[in-house]
């Protein structure tokens, strides 16, 4: 047990974040659903993994028609997961182990089962009526794109109770809150304050671009939306320290940057466009897409940080790519149309990379060495598989595989009772892929991930340093330097499935001795001539450069 969390207000810039779904992590009371007590029992595992922060998917009471993102009560814990006390206990234990916790905060909408909506729809004159966005016709905000293309045909839904349309950017059972109403803003802040006072270290804010609607616009990224966010952040700054707001805004980098404001909106935001390009670069065996998107990413305020990730609980979104690129990704990564959903691919990391250990290592190496705070999705550290035949995106939210035994160690309930079926095929099933067996082997993916995280955290260059790309003539090699306060790390990646040679122009680093960071081997000193490196298939090197 480490000495608890510190008080560094910029802790999130150096954090390695672990995203998990309480429902699927560990069940302690035999009801087939993961809960906080089970999660608490696994905190030692997470501490050993080396992550700094846990991000929990929504744990609020909910009819679970969108896996918890349709919230019915902001001030409570879903009974299936436990009680508020269980949650407090979990928080304490996590902090004691140096693990911070951020939770979901769904700003944009609630469940239609939420008390507020029930009141709002009950009559047109109810005081809460104005908390949602109503219309008598469904042609307002015409032309705004539909996000869940596979299920919804319109952004308006008809409410038979109050005989009016209500606005919903997501599922029709998730009516949008009306942020033009100051009461809504205040109440939402109250919700946040409630959890922050309990000890939660921050929020991942869902669906931020869609808060405000205006006629004649795309209803995304509007200036008024930013006003709301500045308001929230101002409140946060005035009352709390060392808390983080992480924005989910699936936009081009220059548009996401707006959500950092001048350092007065979000602390962190996901860098969505980089993620499909990592997969594309790997498949194309060409660094071009990746280099282009990183170079296109504008600078962000000093206190802000990107969140980068390989996979998450949603589909691998292909919204922020061109049509040509999307077709390519579909053809290369999702031949089976069942795997495609909502302009994305609903597969886990390991199946996407065909279980190839080297590719998995390379992608994680990229994740840990590119600028931003990396987010690891639960189960990807052991290479879990997926089930594309489960509905929606449940295929990537199956129970965590702890052992090869009963229910994979997730729960002692009857297997038939599990909320989600376990992955049980011979390749990715819990008998083959599980924490217990990987802990026993030094060379398992799990132990490799631990080492990777340890090496990444051994220096701040990765989390806070600048990035500068090298351009060797061989386009299959992606090479860049990370620098911070005179310390420099050279990263070289071979994106190809075949051995490659790279000649790097390292004249700016002449005289340095590269020391490979995993094995601490010394490499020849950098001279004037191009530095030649040979790399095996999907190899990568991290070199700490020392001038001695």
């Amino acid at each position: 047990m480490s000495g608890g969390i510190g008080s560094d207000p910029l802790w999130y810039k150096d954090a390695v974040i672990y995203q998990l779904h309480v429902k699927s992590f560990c069940d302690s009371n035999e009801d087939g659903v993961g809960d906080f007590r089970g999660l608490t029992s696994k905190l030692d595992y997470l501490e050993e993994l080396g992550v700094d922060c846990l991000w929990l998917l929504p744990m609020y009471p909910s009819p679970f028609r969108d896996d918890g993102y349709d919230i019915a009560d902001y001030y409570s814990i879903h009974p299936g997961y436990g009680t508020l006390d269980d949650f407090r206990e979990f928080l304490t234990e996590a902090h004691a182990r140096g693990l911070r916790v951020i939770t979901e905060h769904v700003l944009n909408h609630t469940s239609d089962q939420h008390g507020w909506f029930k009141e709002a729809r009950s009559s047109r004159d109810h005081p809460r009526r104005d908390w949602y966005v109503w219309s008598d016709t469904d042609d307002r905000y015409f032309g705004v794109r539909i996000i869940f293309l596979d299920t919804e045909q319109s952004n308006w839904a008809w409410d038979p109770v109050s005989k009016a349309y209500y606005w919903h950017r997501f599922f029709s059972h998730q009516p949008d809150l009306n942020y033009d109403n100051p009461a809504v803003r205040e109440e939402i802040w109250n919700v946040m304050r409630f959890w922050l006072e309990m000890g939660v270290d921050g929020f991942r804010v869902d669906a931020v671009p869609y808060l405000i609607e205006r006629e004649g616009t795309s209803c995304e990224n509007l200036p008024e939306t930013h006003e709301v966010l500045k308001f929230i952040r101002a409140r946060l700054n005035s009352q709390f320290e060392a808390k983080v707001l992480l924005a989910e805004a699936n936009q081009w980098p220059e548009d996401v940057c707006a959500y950092f404001g001048d350092g007065d909106e979000f602390h962190m935001a996901f860098h969505f466009p980089i993620m499909p390009r990592m997969f594309m670069a790997l498949r194309l065996e060409d660094r071009k897409p990746l280099v282009e998107i990183v170079e296109r990413t504008p600078a962000i305020p000093e206190t802000c940080q990107w969140g980068i990730f390989l996979r998450n609980h949603d589909e691998l979104t292909l919204e922020m790519v061109t049509d040509v690129e999307r077709d390519y990704m579909y053809e290369e990564y999702a031949r089976d149309p069942v795997a495609r959903l909502n302009l994305g691919i609903r597969r886990r990391l390991a199946p996407l990379l065909e279980g190839d250990r080297r590719r998995i290592e390379l992608m994680n190496g990229l994740l840990m060495s590119l600028p931003g705070s990396p987010i690891v999705y639960y189960g990807d550290e052991i290479g879990m598989g997926d089930n594309i035949y489960l509905g929606d995106r449940n295929g990537v939210r199956t129970p965590m595989q702890w052992s090869g035994g009963w229910n994979g160690g997730f729960s002692t309930a009857d297997p038939e009772r599990l909320a989600q079926p376990l992955i049980s095929n011979p390749v990715y099933g819990y008998q083959a892929v599980n924490v217990a067996s990987q802990q026993r082997s030094d060379h398992s993916l799990l132990n490799w991930m631990r080492r990777l995280i340890r090496v990444r955290k051994s220096t701040r260059v990765f989390s806070r340093g600048s990035i500068s790309f090298l351009s060797p003539a061989n386009h299959r090699v992606l090479a860049y330097t990370r620098s911070l306060d005179g310390e420099t790390v050279l990263v070289v990646n071979n994106l190809s499935s075949t051995a490659q040679v790279a000649e790097l122009d390292l004249r700016a680093l002449e005289g340095a001795i590269p020391i490979e960071m995993f094995g601490r081997s010394l490499f020849p000193r950098i001279g004037e001539l191009p530095y030649m490196l040979t790399l095996g298939p999907y190899d990568f090197y991290w070199f700490r450069l020392r001038w001695l």
Binding site: R287, K288, V324, P472, A473, H475, S496, T498, E503
Partner: protein, 422 residues
């Protein structure tokens, strides 16, 4: 040793960087400063449109340009960080080839690079000939590949009275000998599969005359003679200003091309002397009708010196032609009027075949044999052109077909002369 110095160190390093590719597009350059930028633009567009997902590289093989062509190419945007908007990095290389400047050296470099890079398809374009369009690039490259066609030749719509050297001599001879007709046997641009390129590299023709000077004919003949699949694709002749370069005169082109063709026939004797039925070469794409207007009329007096030439060359012709053929030619010469001889199909075919057989026998110096054919060719051209001065295009085309059939019918005569001579 020659192979060892074929690729410079710098080129090797660049090829290492390119790695395995699917498509190689080669451009032999020699003082093409005016046209190279447009040509490269068309190539990149064509690749982006038709081969967006393929790994590709564009290689300009330069024979020692003095007008800065390599610098122009180097300045054009490409390389690892180009912005043409495609999925992949596309490489662009300028490399100088050693040895005698000419298409053979350039094509050899391109083929060698394609072989090293394991390309599935290789295309060679001329920056000058008929302006390139992205459509023509796609049209030629797409059918080529190890699983489809080994050679893709273009078909351009031309009036039957154009390209007389091709229509009167090269094309029907190739068709009769190899049993397969290529509309355009002079491959100034073509696409081929990687394995065909590798096969051609292994042949010992790149340094030897006369094959070297007429390398494209040699390549076409090789494709038709071996177990290679060939096809033709219709390519639009883009409407653009004709090239500023002077067209080469007959003297410059006759000996290398005809010499190369005869040498090819000599080398492939085993292949084409088999008794195989003629096979058509499939044509892909929509046929564009040829222009109805004939080219500028032939000047009078084209065949005026034919009689004199035959007299002058009598001792040489007697040692090449069969007695009957020589008698026929002499008779034609005697009967030639002021407007030129009347040189019908039959004696022309016999003449050509006697020359082919004579080339094989090598009784006199082979270069001399080829040169001796030229005045007879001029006479035949005069006869054909004046005879068809007022004919519509389809009648000319029909007569060309008749000529080709005459060549085919007389093939046994060629084989008989071939073996009698040797």
């Amino acid at each position: 040793m020659a192979r060892a110095t074929l690729l410079t160190d710098d080129l090797v390093r660049r090829l290492i960087a390119v790695g395995q590719v699917d498509v190689v597009v080669g451009l032999p350059t020699m003082n093409n400063a005016e046209t190279i930028a447009g040509a490269l633009q068309a190539v990149h567009e064509g690749l982006s449109q038709h081969f967006a997902r393929a790994r590709s590289v564009v290689i300009a093989a330069d024979g020692g340009s003095r007008d800065g062509t390599p610098d122009i190419i180097g300045a054009l945007p490409s390389g690892a960080r180009d912005r043409h908007g495609g999925l992949r990095t596309r490489h662009q290389i300028v490399a100088a080839y050693r040895g005698v400047p000419g298409r053979a050296g350039a094509i050899r470099l391109i083929f060698t690079a394609a072989d090293l890079l394991q390309a599935r398809a290789v295309a060679v374009f001329d920056p000058d000939t008929d302006p390139l369009t992205p459509a023509s690039i796609g049209g030629l490259l797409k059918p080529a590949g190890p699983d489809s066609f080994d050679l893709v030749a273009p078909v351009r719509a031309r009036h039957p009275l154009e390209r007389l050297l091709v229509t009167q001599l090269i094309r029907p001879l190739v068709r009769a000998a190899y049993g397969r007709q290529l509309d355009e046997p002079l491959l100034t641009e073509f696409a081929c599969s990687g394995r065909f390129a590798a096969h051609c590299l292994a042949e010992d023709v790149w340094d030897r005359s006369p094959m070297r000077e007429g390398i494209e004919l040699w390549l076409a003949a090789t494709a038709l003679s071996g177990s290679f699949k060939a096809c033709q694709t219709c390519v639009e002749t883009a409407a653009a200003a004709p090239s500023q370069r002077p067209r080469p005169g007959l003297q410059e082109v006759f000996t290398p091309l005809v010499g190369s063709l005869f040498a090819a026939l000599d080398a492939h004797a085993g292949a084409w002397q088999r008794d195989t039925a003629p096979e058509p070469v499939p044509v892909i794409g929509v046929e564009v009708p040829p222009p109805a207007d004939p080219p500028a009329g032939a000047p009078s007096g084209l065949g005026g010196s034919f009689a004199q030439d035959v007299r002058d060359l009598r001792p040489v012709l007697e040692s090449i032609l069969a007695p009957e053929t020589f008698a026929a030619v002499a008779a034609i010469a005697e009967a030639a009027g002021a407007e030129g001889p009347s040189y019908p199909d039959e004696p022309w075919v016999a003449t050509v075949y006697d020359f082919v057989a004579g080339y094989h026998a090598g009784a006199i110096d082979r270069a001399h044999i080829v040169k001796a054919l030229m005045p007879l060719y001029v006479g035949r051209v005069a006869s054909f052109v004046t005879g068809h001065a007022a004919s519509p295009a389809d009648e000319v085309a029909r007569d060309l077909e008749t000529l080709a059939q005459q060549f085919e019918r007389s093939k046994p005569y060629l084989i008989e002369r071939w073996y009698r001579a040797s």
